[in-house]
Amino acid sequence: MSSLCSFVQSTIGRKILMALTGLVLVLFVMGHMLGNLQIFLGAEVINAYAYKLHYVLPSSALWGIRIFLLVCIAIHIWAAVTLTLDNRKARPQGYQEKKTIQASYSSRTMRMSGIILLAFIVFHIAHFTARSVPGMQYEEAGVLTPMEVPLVKHGEAVMKNGHGVMTFNVNDMMIAGFQVWWVSAFYILATGLLCMHLTHGFSSMFQSVGLRNTLWRKRLDRVALVYGWVVFLGFAIIPLATLAGVLKSDPTGGLATESAAIIETHSK
């Protein structure tokens, strides 16, 4: 058997793959959260951020990142599923009575939180990336008005060849999405589960690659707890703020008031 083959077949090798792909997802999640939080800086900021990701970044890079993340998720899930099946096989007959001595709830429910996260990821991509959830097809006429808003930089509309550059109205898409109560509830639930997954996973990945000792276990467990809660609050605050009416849709794309008035009269 080649060494690579024996590595991915071993229990430890698959756990290392899980930790490495987990690390990629952990870093992505933090970046994604910080990106999203820009919605609190105004519609023009979040719209310009989305514009940058879609049109300033070469599309090959965008697709490269997307495919890389999907491959990481696929490896993560493959390892999770095959290891879980092996683990089940290792105890065909269970105990009549079994006590959990100290293991945390999060650590014992990684598969549950993981499976619901997978369902969430599918929904989330369909919802905001593909924009194809029935009733929420934000790219179809009339679902989101206006669908295009001016791209704003430093409080002014960005002009190109004498025309205002228009961009997709991401701010209003997020607001419209989260104004549906069950969508918000699902996002909050999923980020809560992500918090649980990470309070165990963040520290566990260091254990899996062998970068933990008695002292660092205590520290990493604490960092994991903080990381999980930061991620939860950072994501959940957007649907919460939308439902509370703090975040509002902005049909001008965040243009300063006078120019907004011009555009509004113009569009009437």
Partner: protein, 257 residues
């Protein structure tokens, strides 16, 4: 005055490897709180024999917590409720009058039940055989101080070597994983200078044998550490993971076995 207690015991009874076992319930009265758990089982067996029944089979040898033979899950915990204690060192004062005690064998596919509470733990021996040795010069014994070893290293290896191979880690793990056992053996030998020549080969061989015997994988939840009668820490598993990653890396560029 010596305190005694009356107990209800639910004990797993199984004739042999092939038969289907079941729980039997027994009443045992006037058990001294000073008796050990195994002595309590001895009393039960005497009562059973007197009534013309088969005594309960269970593994035991030293009865002083060092051989690792005793092996039973008591009220859902391997070796019972006391931290860092083998079943033979567990005393009945930790139980109370009128209590029902459930006693089960270790449950794991690689540990088939041989009879009642006795399981076949030879897969652990196979893991040892795969790498639990060093190349030593045959002949007269080397002077004990010929090879200086830092105190820290010696202490660490000693902590790992405290493992008595009882299998409680496997029994406690929801995945029936033998990672704590294997990691203690690997950490013990890989951390000492005498263990260096076979380091990578040992790590690969022991992990391959561990997986091949049908033990599950580690999910880092720490139930093994909590039920280990010798308090082997979970951090030994991090050591094993690290040595395994290094051994695979080394093996990729320059086969070690």
């Amino acid at each position: 005055m010596e305190k005694t207690m009356n107990l209800t015991l639910r004990v797993w009874r199984q004739k042999n490897r092939l038969s289907v076992g079941q729980f039997e319930t027994y009443q045992l009265s006037d058990v001294s709180e000073d008796s050990s758990f195994l002595e309590m089982l001895d009393i039960l067996s005497e009562q059973l024999v007197a009534d013309g029944h088969e005594p309960v089979a269970f593994d035991h040898d030293c009865r002083e917590g060092i051989c690792g033979m005793c092996s039973m899950t008591i009220n859902g915990q391997p070796h019972g409720p006391e931290n860092g204690t083998t079943a033979c060192q567990l005393h009945m004062r930790h139980f109370h009058d009128g209590q029902t005690i459930t006693i089960e064998p270790w449950r794991a596919k690689p540990f088939p039940v041989i009879k009642d509470l006795v399981v076949d733990r030879s897969p652990l021996d196979k893991i040892i055989q795969a790498g639990g040795f060093i190349t030593a010069r045959a002949g007269s014994a080397v002077d004990a101080n010929a090879m200086p070893i830092a105190k820290q290293t010696a202490d660490y290896a000693m902590d790992a070597a405290a493992c008595i191979g009882c299998g409680a880690c496997v029994a406690a793990c929801p995945n029936a994983s033998a990672m704590l056992f294997t990691s203690a053996k690997v950490a013990h030998m890989n951390s000492l200078p005498q263990g260096q020549p076979e380091k990578h080969r040992r790590t690969l061989a022991m992990v391959t044998t561990m997986d091949g015997e049908g033990f599950g994988g580690c999910t880092n939840i720490g139930e093994c550490e909590a039920s280990c009668p010798k308090n082997i820490p979970l951090d030994m598993i991090a050591h094993l993971n690290r040595d395994y990653a290094l051994a695979q890396l080394k093996n990729f560029f320059e086969p070690v076995a």
